[in-house]
């Protein structure tokens, strides 16, 4: 639809319109919505949904594969679309059951849904969204799958259309007057937020929520230049979530391995694998103990990380990837407990809480030392006073090794050699 709508992050703004038109099997779709949590780290649906690490899935049912403009599909998916693959119920079901079997070389790092019912439900759910994320027309959202026309032509609810048009107008105005200027009212500010360039990751929710704090003339900072204003306690609490190895910053709370398993399977396993082994090239979280002196060490929480506080802190601030800050304190305790369990460090009846947290040492706790690079021979106090300039080595230079990858942006993105090279190369 309108280009102006694409950048909108209309959180809870138009969200209410999504379910206006109920498909025949409303219950299936409702269940599908739950299952969609497993997809939502990578895909968004609904009005204003943007591409994340996967394309937006608005209007995807019955559409050609690889049809979202501006999304960089894998070569495999692009080819499949060109060769006529369309997401009919049948093809979509096969894809969701085993993505990499259906489209060999797809970059969707998702193992697949095991149950036919889950697949049917999620398709019922996805059917509800027209191309622009508005509710698809009831006859088009019919669960029989008797759709002939292109859902891309589906019209949005008239009401939705009107308000969207208004918002598009607003956005345009914002863009003309320069989105950077003083935005007073909250809704407008939300529009301005998204009016920048379109990127994969949306700005954090706090950014959208955190406006309009300093409306009254602020009290002076009291510092030497008297710039800024005092930070309020609530403001500090909202941002200060860091946890130190000595336990400073750890909130009250608890969570068990069993609770953690549920959360992990739903919100983490699609990328990190059911056992923390890592799907595709997503990070490995478990295993690898005793490999640090191997030719290819596997660095995980159990094999490499020195402190448990880092696990809590990092998961709480940055995971699940693409939906940061969405876990509660207790959920974070539970997932942390489960990650300990996946690394064989606790039993399955373990509960992690603010009391026992600091008592837990990770196996590689003592595996680190300070930076002593300056003691190496090439560095200042050791470097030879006189550098060799002439006849420094005997005989002519012989090639001992050649570049292993001549064409650095290869067509086949999945050869074993590249996997081997890529592993841990740039993190």
């Amino acid at each position: 639809m309108s280009k102006f709508l694409r950048p909108l992050i209309a959180v809870g703004f138009l969200g209410g319109l999504v379910l206006v038109a109920q498909p025949a099997s409303a219950q299936d779709a409702a269940n599908g919505e739950k299952i969609f949590k497993r997809c939502s780290a990578c895909h968004a649906v609904g009005p204003g949904a943007k591409n994340k690490s996967g394309p937006t899935l608005n209007g995807v049912v019955e559409r050609k594969a690889a049809a979202v403009e501006g999304f960089r599909y894998s070569k495999a998916m692009t080819e499949a679309g060109k060769n006529g693959l369309a997401w009919t119920e049948e093809h979509l079901s096969e894809f969701l059951a085993a993505p990499r079997k259906k489209v060999k070389g797809t970059k969707m790092a998702f193992a697949g849904l095991k149950k036919d019912k889950e697949i049917a439900d999620i398709i019922a759910y996805l059917r509800q969204f027209a191309d622009d994320g508005s509710a698809a027309k009831p006859e088009q959202a019919n669960a029989d799958g008797a759709i002939q026309s292109n859902p891309g032509m589906a019209e949005a609810e008239p009401e939705a259309n009107a308000s969207e048009a208004e918002m598009a107008e607003e956005t345009k105005k914002q863009q003309q007057t320069g989105a950077g200027e003083d935005v007073a009212a909250a809704p407008k500010a939300e529009i301005a937020d998204g009016a920048g360039e379109s990127v994969d990751a949306s700005a954090g929710d706090e950014e959208a929520a955190g406006q309009d704090v300093a409306m009254a003339p602020p009290p002076p900072s009291g510092g030497p230049m008297n710039i800024g204003r005092p930070a309020l306690e609530d403001e500090i609490a909202a941002w200060d979530i860091d946890v130190r190895p000595d336990g400073k910053g750890l909130p009250e709370g608890s969570g068990t391995v069993a609770e953690g398993e549920g959360i992990y399977d739903e919100r983490c396993a699609s990328c990190h694998g059911a056992f923390g082994e890592g799907e595709g090239r997503w990070p490995v979280l478990a295993g690898g103990q005793g490999t640090l002196t191997d030719e290819r060490p596997e660095k995980t929480i159990g094999s490499y990380w020195p402190y448990l506080s880092t696990v809590y802190d990092y998961v709480h601030r940055a995971m699940p990837f693409g939906d940061a800050r969405s876990l509660t304190d207790d959920e974070t305790y539970a997932v942390t407990a489960y990650l300990l369990y996946l690394n064989d460090l606790v039993k399955d009846d373990f509960e992690l809480n603010s009391k026992n947290f600091s008592g837990i040492d990770l196996p590689n706790h003592d595996g680190f030392k300070p930076d002593d690079r300056q003691s190496e021979p090439q560095n200042a106090e050791n470097a030879q006073a006189e550098l060799c300039m002439k006849d420094c080595k005997e005989g002519p230079a012989e090639i001992t090794m050649r570049a292993r990858v001549l064409d650095v942006t290869p067509d086949n993105a999945d050869s074993d050699e590249q996997d081997e090279l890529g592993e841990g190369a740039i993190d």
């Binding site: 994340k52 937020d193 360039e197 802190d313 570049a403």
Partner: protein, 426 residues
Amino acid sequence: MVESAKARGRIPNARRQFLKAGLTAAGGTLAVASGVKAAQPDPKITEIQDWNRYLGDGVDASPYGSPSQFEADIVRRNVPWLTADATSSVNFTPLYALDGTITPSGLCFERHHGGVAVINPADHRLMIHGLVDRPLVFTMDDLKRFPRENRVYFLECAANSGMEWRGAQLNGCQFTHGMIHNVEYTGIPLRFILEEAGVKADAKWLLAEGADAAAMTRSIPIEKVMDDCLIAFKMNGEALRPEQGYPVRLVVPGWEGNMWIKWLRRLELGDKPWAQREETSKYTDLLANGVARRHTWVMDVKSVVTNPSPQAPLTHSKGRTVATGLAWSGHGRIAKVDVSIDGGRNWSEARLEGGTSKGVYRFYHDFDWDGAELFLQSRAIDEAGNVQPTKDQLRAERGENSIYHNNGIQTWHVRQDGVTENVEVS
């Protein structure tokens, strides 16, 4: 517009074909017109060219100008199979196509851990709290009331050349060395912000945090903070690019790029480091004996020849030529750079042009090429006396699993036909 877009598509293709041909032509010489063909007059001179007759675009054809359409191939590039997803990935500065010392803003490599945050400066806040007398909040307007400075610094990712630990891998200095850029920053000494809040005596560390979806955090010792760190909002005179942390980022001169928190929103003072993910799981250097170094902040002395290099082969036959490259050190200034054309048997001192302390230096080695194969190397020495080591020396000290801080000497093999390849030599 449409016309030039077409041209954009064509030119780079032709160029890539040329490079490919160069790489595969076994031993053949490059069929590139060089020098003067005396026999026939050059039609580019004797015929009147379109651009010499017809008018070009007027002013405002491109209100924020962009490079010539003939430079369309000079872009940041990534290596998609290195990482799982573009939102947690890296691309590389095309060093082979640049000269001088300043990196154009749009070509500065990108590395993000949660995509590029898009932040309206009116919505941005910077908070300082922890072991301070007065926890404070600043808006962008507030920040612009502090005294500011202009400084040129390099930013190098600690993992630059990280792919090369196990031996020559990627064919091009863009990929082997392109996680570096060098720009002029306009910013506020971080010291002023701390003084505004009043630092308590037991504050020994600063935690800096970004506002992006990774909420990136790093611990920095207070001595460094008070020494030369900046809070920058301009690069090369213009606003920071979004991918470089717009509207405001931290500048930590000479130290690894990951510490230069982008989209900077929070500064916390404390008495101990925080052991965040990027200073434990990542950015620690695993040695051969299984022990890892941590807090390896400084970027060591390093250099690389950028031309010729695999993406910029020699296109002329024997005769006068220029080898050029970059040198830098997180310890300060570069004292000298030596260049070898025979794989480290003999060295000559290169000519340095431009450069700043903890910034990039440009070096040139002008010489007559006799048409024989070359093994080009460069070796930098900084003012503290640190010498850039060979890759073998580094491996002997550290093993092959360090990932970070590979400052070893790079070798390019220039063949008689000018084609250039990443190699290691005896």
